[in-house]
């Protein structure tokens, strides 16, 4: 807890000003802390000119971890629909909750979403906590983070998992920091260790050359974000029953200096890279920009999306949003066609989860063939037109 040395405190109000949670007030020229709101973030401790504030540290080992129970999934809504990753998370979280013999709770934050709660139950949740507020209608990083952290402190779940999406990756780290706990980003696997009961969180390291399993055994909750498209969702079961709980957050948690003035959903041309089942990727082997159309044509024939290696996007042939790999997006389609891609590790880590990998490359020693299902050694400029023509014919397109 936060301790205030009344002898040292001069009532200057510095701590009151910096506290993001409104937990400190100056009463009779002395700081006073509201323990309910205090997150122990330590900002005030660092600010106090007199050194009057301190956070009493229970050594990490002494923390009573056993009082933290339950598995939470943070759901995510886009344009009124749950992102697929939400259901993927629920599918895995169901396993985790069963392994720990605890309930699975889904958190639903936003505005006007209450009627969506049932869908979360049908996908595996035992309980849904709905935080419904007009002030959550826009995604505001710090407000979302404070609400979730507040809930977590109150309810003390053992595990919190969320999607490694633009929003998840933005506010979940804030939650973990407020809670002073560990967070593993971009996991590709989650399991409960049978002996210790710890959450084993697996993620790629060193650009995917190594898979590292991370644990957080001294703090709670155990937190992780998980890449979309790596876990399997459960089929919806509308007969499932569950509890829906409303939670009204203290209004000061929703105060933010960030103002969303416009929120725009962009029309996607063709299927999105991460949503499609087929990706056709352009690599340096195409040699010049004009040949990019060979890849685009094959993608059209397959009704897939166009990907590109970093070399191609850096050269400005196509926008960076098409880049597959470590610094781009991760895809795991059913079919991945690598055209003139040499297969640098930074690229491989972004597509290795693909089910069938077809590699077309002049150089039979190119690393891309190491992970390919089918390899064609040949000139992409020659192969692609033939392939496009035959596939179009096969699928009855022109």
């Amino acid at each position: 807890m936060l301790r205030i040395d009344i002898e040292k405190c001069i009532g200057c109000g510095e701590c009151e000003e910096v506290c993001s949670f409104g937990a400190i007030t100056i009463v009779d020229d002395k700081a006073r802390v509201d323990e309910e709101s205090c997150t122990l973030c330590g900002t005030c401790v660092d600010t106090c000119p007199e050194g009057a504030l301190s956070i009493e540290k229970e050594g990490a080992e002494e923390l009573d971890l056993s009082s933290w129970k339950g598995v939470w999934v943070v759901s995510e809504i886009k344009n009124g629909l749950f992102s697929p990753v939400t259901f993927e998370l629920l599918g895995k979280a169901r396993e985790l909750a069963d392994a720990r013999n605890v309930p699975l709770t889904a958190i639903l934050m936003g505005y006007g979403l209450r009627d969506k709660a049932d869908e979360l139950i049908s996908r595996g949740a035992d309980r849904v906590i709905v935080v419904d507020s007009k002030r959550l209608s826009d995604f505001i990083d710090d407000a979302y983070a404070r609400v979730l952290a507040h809930l977590a402190k109150k309810e003390m779940p053992e595990i919190i998992i969320a999607g490694a999406t633009a929003t998840g990756r933005a506010f979940i780290p804030q939650v973990a920091t407020i809670l002073e706990t560990g967070l593993t980003a971009d996991c590709t696997g989650l399991e409960i260790d049978k002996e210790s009961g710890q959450l084993l969180q697996t993620r790629p390291a060193f650009g995917g050359n190594l898979m590292a399993t991370i644990i957080c055994d001294t703090r709670r909750p155990q937190m992780a974000t998980v890449r979309p498209h790596v876990l399997k969702a459960l089929e919806p079961d509308t007969s499932r029953k569950g509890e829906i709980v409303d939670f009204e957050p203290p209004s000061e948690l929703l105060d933010s200096r960030i103002k969303v003035v416009e929120s725009v959903t962009e029309e996607q041309k063709g299927p999105g890279l991460t949503e499609t089942e087929i990706v056709v990727t352009a690599g340096r082997g195409l040699e010049k920009k004009e040949n990019l159309k060979l890849v685009e044509e094959l993608a059209r024939c397959l009704d897939g999306a166009v990907g590109a290696t970093r070399a191609i996007t850096d050269a400005g042939w196509i926008s960076h949003s098409h880049q597959v790999g470590q610094t781009g997006v991760t895809v795991s389609p059913r079919l991945y066609v690598a055209c003139g891609v040499s297969g640098a590790i930074q690229h491989l880590v972004g597509m290795q989860g693909s089910e069938i990998i077809v590699a077309i490359n002049k150089d039979k020693d190119a690393p891309i063939f190491d992970i390919a299902t089918y390899g064609i050694v040949g000139d992409v400029k020659e192969i692609l037109p033939i392939l496009s023509k035959k596939i179009c014919k096969e699928r009855g397109l022109d």
Partner: protein, 268 residues
């Protein structure tokens, strides 16, 4: 924030192994460390440029902060050669083993030592860890709002705040926020400027301060391994399946063989 003082901008940078020079031996499962160069994390160049753009527009002192081994001062010098005014290396053996929680604590202590800060810029993520957690976590520690994945930036309110375009998977938000704020930058935000000769010469001669745990008044329990709740439990080398089948013959035959297999697999 005080009105009369010069604007204070901090840019957080990290030295990472050059992705181009890192090679991995798949057979033995080891990193080939020979000839691996250290470079500034690519996304951080855009954070530096954003800070300098703001400096050009509003006038400011830009300080680069990096946490790492003493050699990380090279990253500071490079930032200074682009126009960053000063830099600090936060370095101490006691920081070893820091996860993102300990890192944000350490960086926040260093930044607080720099005084009131109006804006902090971080790259969207570092290419060695790829966590994207330090920016948002640091914002919490500093008690300031954070806007991530920013691809456009404009000064508003007469120099008191920013309008930012924050990218999401399916679109974007335009957000407005007054200083102080922490921004994480995408590579589409700007084109980093080239170094200037004068700044390069200045950077070469500059004495780069190194701040230890003691200098930033860090709590020993919150730094390095002690302050890092996550730990590596085990690692393994991902198997790149070599069940590969080369399709032989003329281009026509290769294509026919491929289509046959794709049809069998039911993908077309």
């Amino acid at each position: 924030m005080p009105e009369d003082k010069v604007m204070n901008i901090v840019v957080c940078i990290k030295q990472v192994p050059d992705a181009e020079s890192v090679k991995w031996d798949h057979k033995t499962g080891t990193l080939i460390r020979d000839g691996v160069k250290s470079v500034i994390n690519p996304f951080d160049y855009h954070a530096i440029e954003a800070a300098l753009t703001l400096k050009d527009e509003l006038g400011a002192k830009v300080t680069a902060v990096t946490m790492g081994p003493p050699q990380a001062e090279e990253a500071i010098r490079e930032a200074m050669s682009m126009g960053v005014d000063e830099g600090v290396v936060v370095s101490d053996r006691a920081f070893a083993g820091s996860d993102t929680l300990a890192t944000t604590y350490t960086l926040s202590r260093a930044i607080k030592r720099l005084g009131d800060v109006h804006a902090v810029f971080c790259g969207k993520q570092a290419i060695d860890g790829d966590t994207a957690q330090v920016g948002p976590g640091l914002a919490v520690r500093l008690g300031i709002p954070c806007v991530t994945y920013v691809s456009e930036m404009e000064v508003i309110n007469g120099g008191k705040g920013l309008r930012l375009k924050r990218l999401k998977e399916d679109g974007f938000d335009m957000v407005e926020v007054d200083f102080p704020v922490l921004v994480t930058t995408l590579s589409t935000l700007n084109t980093p400027r080239v170094p200037s000769l004068k700044a390069k010469m200045k950077a070469k001669r500059a004495k780069i301060p190194v701040w230890t745990a003691g200098d930033i008044g860090a709590d020993k329990k919150r730094i390095g391994l002690n302050g890092s709740p996550t730990k590596v439990h085990s690692t393994y080398i991902p198997k790149f399946e070599a069940k590969r089948e080369f399709l032989e013959g003329s281009p026509e035959e290769q294509v026919d063989a491929l289509i046959k297999r794709l049809k069998e697999a039911g993908v077309i």
